[in-house]
Amino acid sequence: MTTPLDHILIFKTNILTAADRLAIENRLNTHCGIERWSLDQQDVDCVLRIVSATLTPADIIDLITCQGFACAELD
């Protein structure tokens, strides 16, 4: 099934290294509102992509900044 585009949230982050990724991985994997997520660490913006039917961009920004990383919606 194709994911509704409104359920895809895209963020610019500074989750740069493998260790950084580990630091957020558990939180994202276990969050019941997150269906899927991926992080493009090859990209200059370390783009975080979240698929969620219920969470808002602000929810994700809170979640990531609480772990000590920068996170902003990517235009």
């Binding site: 895209i10 992080l39 913006d45 992509r49 990517l74």
Partner: protein, 196 residues
């Protein structure tokens, strides 16, 4: 509500192929692609998970397009010589009409993305070709050989001629332009070689 835009997706595919063929996989980035398409980086991430996903998905699409062209007006029930002739026509047409896609597919086949792309795009191809070849062997129209030997003999000459044509040079650097006669001469020899 955001909607999928088929024109935009096609533009993304075409520009990605162009950038990868010109700059290679290492020189390619989602940011460069977004600039080339005059769209936002975020839009690309709506459609693709990351750079690797984008390359794999586009590789898969190109592979499927290639195999669809290969099988145009072809049936595995065709007599061997007729079926092979049709495939030569289709493969030559694809090579000449879609040079960027051909260059991209060659690159992806030999890259770490190749295994995924070939495995996914060749499923239907293998089934159809297997039926065609087994039938030809049963009907004593084709000498049984390994798939690798069959492929080398059946298509190797075609791609050698197409490469001469693309380079615009034949042996010794002489000017070369592929003609229907070249293809017919080579195909005749190929069919003769493969027939028991």
């Amino acid at each position: 509500m955001r909607t999928r835009n088929a024109d935009k997706q096609e533009l993304v595919k075409q520009k990605a192929i162009e950038l990868i063929v010109n700059d290679g996989f290492d020189g390619f980035s989602v940011n460069k692609l977004a600039r080339a398409c005059s769209i936002s980086v975020a839009t690309l991430y709506i459609y693709y998970r990351d750079k690797d996903d984008l390359i794999r998905q586009i590789g898969l699409e190109v592979g499927q397009t290639f195999f669809a062209h290969t099988f145009r007006d072809f049936s595995p029930q065709m007599p061997f010589a007729e079926g092979l002739t049709k495939q030569w026509e289709n493969r030559a047409r694809f090579w000449l009409e879609y040079p960027q896609e051909v260059a991209f597919y060659e690159m992806i086949r030999l890259s770490p993305y190749g295994e995924f792309v070939l495995e996914e795009s060749m499923v239907a191809f293998k089934e159809i070709m297997s039926e065609f070849l087994h039938r030809a062997i049963r009907n004593k129209e084709l000498t049984p050989v390994t798939p690798e030997v069959f492929w080398s003999v059946a298509y190797g000459p075609l791609y050698t001629l197409l490469r001469f044509h693309s380079a615009k040079k034949g042996l010794g650097g002489n000017a070369f332009e592929l003609s229907d006669q070249h293809l017919a001469d080579a195909l005749k020899l190929v069919i003769k070689a493969l027939t028991p």
